[in-house]
């Protein structure tokens, strides 16, 4: 009969109207600034750099400026310059580490490819800025976050990383001890088992940083 | 020469009638010609109401009833007339009265 389908539809909407007052399943809005969803541990949005010593956030960065992430980054939003001493010898730490998070697409590939567990994904998402260029171009100082912060964001993952690093350290210490004893073996590279990092070769074609025009 | 309300009404109606007449005669757009004729019909209706209102026997509702009938007929006229206009338009792609000289399409 004409109209039965319409009545059925009206019944559904009426059920939802009433349900929105007593059934949390039918009232799903989170009123955002007051109430925030609990982020899952895996949540990612923009990368940050992990440092181990809160007293020296820049000096204790795990990053060795190997530029793997810079090469692999799909939108090429990472810009790294290795720090060098006066003689031009690489110091294995970044002098410049910039991430333009207005270009970053939160793909996490930098995290995956980093052999030193130095770059991790942040979860801080309230990053709206009125300044399109300077405000979203994060430098080494802004990117550097403590390991404790990393633990806070991704506890499981961070624990695994810490265990791995501790294991490596132990191995390194053992290697050092072994080296001290026979003093013949070459030093083992401090790297995870899977992929030894290719030699950091800052080529001439390294992507230019997204130079912001002067405001 | 005195002008009572009845005369005023009649003058009003004559003026309206002439406006309709001039429009119907001068325009070549069929729709406007029809509208001019409508206007003349309306002017005639004005007379009926005026005579009913100021006439000797307002209790008899004849004037009002005549106007009601006239409005009904005018509606019919408008409906058929405009249907004709659309038919003409579909046939000759314009609504100029001068060119609608054939009854057979």
């Amino acid at each position: 009969m004409l109209g039965t389908g319409l009545l059925q539809g009206l019944a559904v909407t009426a059920k939802n109207l009433v349900g929105s007052f007593h059934d949390p399943e039918r009232y799903v809005t989170m009123e955002y600034p007051e109430v925030k969803t609990k982020l899952p541990e895996n949540y990612r949005n923009f990368p940050f750099l992990v440092h181990d010593d809160p007293k020296d956030p820049l000096g204790s960065l795990r990053c060795v400026a190997c530029t793997i992430c810079e090469t692999e980054c799909p939108p090429q939003c990472i810009y790294i310059v290795m720090d060098r001493d006066e003689k031009g010898k690489a110091l294995k730490r970044p002098k410049v580490f910039d991430i333009d998070i207005s270009v970053c697409m939160s793909c996490q590939i930098c995290v995956e490819v980093c052999p030193f567990d130095a770059i991790k994904m942040d979860q801080h998402y309230e990053i709206a800025e009125t300044n399109r260029f300077q405000g979203l171009l994060l430098s080494r100082e802004q990117l550097s976050k403590s390991n404790a912060y990393y633990h806070q964001l991704h506890p499981t993952e961070a624990a695994a990383v810490d265990a791995l690093l501790a294991e490596q350290k132990a191995k390194q210490a053992a290697a050092k001890a072994a080296k001290a004893a026979p003093a013949a073996k070459p030093p083992a590279p401090a790297a995870p088992a899977a992929n030894p990092p290719p030699p950091p070769a800052p080529s001439a074609e390294a992507p230019k940083p997204p130079t912001p025009p002067a405001p | 020469m005195s002008v009572g309300p009845l005369q005023l009404c009649l003058l009003f109606s004559s003026a309206l009638f002439c406006v309709g007449l001039i429009g119907a005669l001068s325009r070549s757009n069929t729709i406007l010609v029809l509208l001019g004729i409508e206007l003349m019909l309306n002017a005639a209706n004005l007379n009926f109401i005026a005579f009913w209102r100021f006439g000797p026997n307002p209790a008899a509702a004849t004037g009002v009833i005549f106007v009601l009938f006239s409005i009904a007929v005018a509606a019919a006229e408008a409906a058929v007339g405009l249907a004709l206009v659309i038919a003409i338009y579909r046939h000759q792609k314009n609504v100029r009265l001068q060119e609608a000289s054939q009854l057979k399409g």
């Binding site: 009969m1 004409l2 109209g3 319409l6 539809g9 009206l10 559904v12 909407t13 009426a14 939802n16 109207l17 349900g19 929105s20 007052f21 039918r26 009232y27 799903v28 809005t29 009123e31 | -």
Partner: protein, 431 residues
Amino acid sequence: MSLPGQLSVLFPLASGLGASSPLAAVLPASDSALERLPLTLRGLLTGWLPASWQWLANSLIAIVVLIVAFASLFALLTLAERKILGRVQNRPGPNRAPLPFLNLRTYGLAQPVADGVKMLTKEDIVPDGADRVLHFLAPIALLAFSILTLAVIPYGRLLVALDLDASVLFFFAAGAATELAVFMAGWASRNKYSLLAAMRALAQLISYELPLLLSVVPVVLMAGSLSTSVIVERQGEWWLGFLPRWYVFTPWGLAGFLVFFVASLAESNRSPFDLPEAESELIAGHLTEYSGFKYALFFMAEYFGMCALCGMAVTLFLGGWQAPLPFLSFIPSYLWFAGKLLALLGVFMWIRASFPRLRIDQLTRLAWKFLVPLALINLGTTAFWSLTADWAGLLQPLRWLIAAGLIAGPFLLLGRNLSKGLGPRTYRYAA
């Protein structure tokens, strides 16, 4: 003759809140003070004026009260509509606009104020190439005609702004002009979407004016009057002493109410008949090129029209301001009217939240192939009902049965014809 005298000649039966109503005598002596409250207040305000000015003052008061009451109802309705729509869609609806300076949210009650401020401060844009005069006149005309229709609805016992002998006719005459304004808006905007909307508005009006009027004829037939006050009075009796004799509780009244309801959804451009402003097809239809205050006027007029049609439906079929049960008569009549009006408006919103939109050819087909025949058959049924008014005893149920059959049969047949070729389908699966 003084100015008010001239005006009263122009509208001989206009009487301002029913002072010279033919029904003035029916106000029961036992009426409570609450029931008389509006009249008492008006008496306090205008009682001291000379007689010829009193009429003018009363009319002005009626106009001001009507506009203020419905403007505030409009503000509340916009909020209520969004709240209901929100709740149906499992969200809270607007609830954040705070009261100015207090920072109190009060469930979004300040939202209409915020909307109003926004509307008033927006730039008024008239497109290049638009017909400026018509573009300007359209919202004003629409609002004016919508307000006119509000004048003849009896809001309570003796509470009618314009108690005409032919008020039902007046209502439809004024209501018919609203689509003209929609057309003006659409055509004057010089926008193709608006033009399409204007065409749709015209087609819709022509189609739905007829069932709307035809569905009212039975009521006029049974009440024997075109006056809304009389129609409400006639529904004031009781079956068996306690069941209300509203027209909707008869077979022909129910059918007439449904036809009227559907047609009034179309007349007020409400979903599922909101084709002139179909946002998914025509952006905003005739409103596309309107902004700021003009847009607000359109919005307001739309709600006024909706209120007027709902008020008319209440008056014609739902017993107007009559209480549903005899012992509830102590509640003032205007409150009953307000309750029924709000309930009907709620149904309008509920429907808007539930249904998609029809297509223009389906819309006209529904009118011509379903509503008009049904209304005509309903007219015949009403004639039967009126002829068998003296059937009593066992004949009474028979009368009900015959009348119900006369409605239900054609309803089923017409419905089947209308939905020919449509229906749920069964699907096969690949082997």
